[in-house]
């Protein structure tokens, strides 16, 4: 075991997979000599050369389209979209092509492709460097969508994603890169896609979340514990497919649920989790399901005061949890 930053865990995962499998290569904007704008791929060009680390033209649809073509001819591309906000030009390639290739060819072709993208607010990136986009893709059959919260999971899930024969969207919170640290297993290991984990055991309230928001939930749980409210934190880790078993087990245990994400409220992953609980966990519930999410505003504004008022954080979670506890 050793302590790593989130960004180092991802880089280690990439490096190990590139080294282990000649089919794996990276493609993205500024990922070569510049090492990516967040430096996730720092040093990889020197280590593996321009045949494995390819700087793409400024063309997201073309880049993903090219990656799909390589995947249909024996490669395992890992695409970096510089900011999740810029994935939309490639939406058609992801949704109309990659996601349904296996289905539409009746199992003849697979698209083993990973698309990594930094997401999330709090970095003063304004409306176009702050968005959460997972809900758009979580809606799509044929895609897998992963949003890790800590270094150990990030590396293990990234390895699983690269080895998966389906297209996987892999979202990394940009604030996590340098601020989230954690113990990480030595050597080669994977974390399975589609399995949630209980990050903190508790009795009274289930806080269900993913990505950076998990840390907000853990912080809130600590605060609430001092007031005698015991929270369980469920880290979904994968938002498609959802681990309904772990979700329902926690709901059964606590009877009170708050779902937390940084993405805006309407049509978010929380809505799907709430629907699953409403159908299969109805008899366990002692209170209405709560959601803490960004309000339905286009994205986070640039001015810190304007952004902070919209960003969901530990204080919002504590408030919602207290309402649940008092119900």
């Amino acid at each position: 075991m050793s302590e790593k930053r989130f960004i180092d865990a991802i880089r280690d995962g990439l490096r190990e997979e590139i080294a282990a499998d000649a089919a794996v290569f990276l493609i993205g904007q500024d990922i070569g000599v510049n090492g990516g704008v967040f430096r996730v791929t720092d040093g990889l060009l020197e280590e593996f050369g321009s045949g494995r680390i390819i700087d793409s033209p400024l063309a997201e649809s073309g880049m993903v389209g090219v990656a799909i073509g390589t995947a249909m001819n024996g490669m395992r591309p890992v695409v970096e979209i510089q900011f999740a906000d810029f994935i939309f030009p490639a939406f058609n390639q992801v949704v109309s092509e990659a996601a349904r290739m296996y289905y539409r060819t009746n199992g003849d072709f697979t698209v083993p492709m990973v698309i990594r993208a930094p997401y999330g607010g709090g970095a003063r990136g304004g409306l176009y460097h702050s968005q959460s986009v997972e809900a758009y893709f979580a809606h799509v059959p044929g895609l897998k969508v992963v949003v890790p919260s800590n270094p150990h999971d990030a590396k293990g899930l990234l390895k699983s994603a690269i080895r998966d024969d389906n297209p996987v969207l892999f979202f990394e919170h940009k604030l996590a890169y340098n601020t989230v640290r954690g113990e990480i297993s030595d050597g080669d290991y994977t974390v399975p896609i589609g399995e949630a984990v209980v990050s903190r055991e508790g009795q009274h309230i289930s806080l269900i979340s993913y990505g950076l928001s998990v840390h907000h939930c853990l912080e809130a749980a600590e605060t609430l514990s001092a007031e005698g409210i015991s929270c369980e934190v469920v880290d979904l880790r994968t938002v498609r497919p959802l681990d309904t078993v772990t979700i329902l087990e926690s709901v059964k245990k606590t009877g009170r649920v708050c779902i937390v994400h940084e993405d805006n409220l309407t049509g978010g992953v929380g809505a799907e989790v709430a629907a699953i609980i409403a159908k299969d966990g109805f008899e366990f519930l002692d209170a209405p399901v709560q959601r803490v999410a960004a309000p339905d505003v286009p994205s986070f504004p640039y001015n810190p005061g304007l952004e902070d008022v919209l960003l969901p954080g530990p204080t919002d979670i504590v408030r919602a949890a207290k309402e649940l506890a008092a119900y």
Binding site: G62, V66, Y102, R104
Partner: protein
């Protein structure tokens, strides 16, 4: 140029010319009969290729069909036949039956894809195939495959952003890919004059740093020659070529379209003079490669092959309804 030397100059021999003609007849027969099947309600959809058989067949004939890749579009029937798809497989596709190797009845007819034959699957969202072809070619380069990828599309798809992005990437990396544009002048009902102020698509290649050529798409020898040179260039590591074939569209866009809403009967009659099948037949007869009797025999043989494939495909089982839930994810 004397007609015999035209054949010599193309690099094709008499057997090749006969083979190309046979594929053209087969594509026409399948296309015509598929159209009739839609009128009879036995098949639900078709996209006729009538008028561009020379371009489809002769271009694919310039590939190494065993190892090269094709990224098709819906009017690539002739190329599919050259690449090795059988008449029976095509008809199973038209009827959407379980044994259709393209999609087992999941996609609409003429949405080609066949991994074993090196035919990269297409959907209905046109233009997405173009960067995909660059990707297939990039993989060939990375893996050391000596393969060339050819992607087919219409001049309408050349207006999509993916056209620009796919050609741009291939130019930068000098990828072994041939971009083959069938410019038939019509994107469903929209004429080429409303696609771009410059109607000659091949000219755009200059902007991507590689050659673009325009050929008479009704002349299989001209098409073959242009594509052969492009394939050679690609295989030699010299990069992509954009080949534009000026073709005709003798039929509506699809079985769901009525082209008399936007074209005149006179326009269609005039265009018929460029029908590649009688033109090539005349060439073959004039040069003694074919005679009237053998032409009729060939036509009858092809029609019989298609008729038999239709009956077998019609009788073939559909996939069980409950299989519609299967195969969303690869294991």
């Amino acid at each position: 140029m004397p007609i015999n030397s035209r054949l010599n100059k193309s690099g094709l021999d008499q057997k090749d010319a006969q083979s190309i003609y046979r594929y053209m007849l087969l594509a026409r027969s399948i296309s015509e009969k598929s159209w009739l099947l839609t009128r009879q309600g036995r098949v639900l959809f078709s996209m006729p290729c009538d008028g561009q058989e020379a371009a489809d067949v002769a271009s694919a004939y310039a590939l190494d069909t065993a190892t090269d890749f094709i990224v098709p579009y819906a009017r690539s029937l002739g190329a599919m036949l050259v690449k090795g798809m059988t008449t029976q497989e095509v008809m199973l596709n038209m009827f959407g039956k379980a044994a259709d190797p393209n999609s087992g009845g999941r996609q609409m007819p003429m949405h080609w894809g066949h991994k074993l034959l090196g035919i990269i699957s297409m959907g209905s969202s046109v233009g997405t195939t173009i960067p995909r072809a660059s990707g297939v070619a990039l993989a060939s380069k990375l893996r050391g495959q000596n393969a060339v990828t050819m992607v087919y599309f219409g001049e309408g798809s050349a207006s999509e952003g993916d056209f620009h992005e796919g050609l741009g990437f291939a130019g930068v990396h000098r990828l072994p890919v041939v971009f083959f544009c069938n410019n038939n002048g019509w994107a469903t009902s929209v004429p080429v004059s409303l696609q771009n102020a410059e109607p000659q698509v091949a000219k755009r290649a200059q902007g991507y740093g590689f050659p673009g050529v325009t050929v008479d798409g009704s002349d299989p020898l001209a098409v073959y020659q242009a594509v052969k040179a492009a394939v050679h260039r690609a295989r030699s590591g010299d990069g992509p070529t954009l080949v534009e074939a000026n073709t005709i569209r003798m039929m509506p866009h699809s079985s769901s379209d009525d082209h008399l809403r936007y074209r005149t009967q006179e326009d269609l009659e005039n265009e018929r003079k460029l029908d590649p099948i009688p033109l090539f037949r005349d060439f073959l007869i004039t040069t003694g490669i074919l005679d009237e009797t053998s032409d009729q025999e060939l036509q009858d043989f092809v029609d019989l092959e298609v008729e038999e494939a239709i009956e077998l495909a019609d009788d073939a089982p559909s996939a069980a309804a409950e299989t519609a839930f299967n195969g969303v994810y690869a294991p």
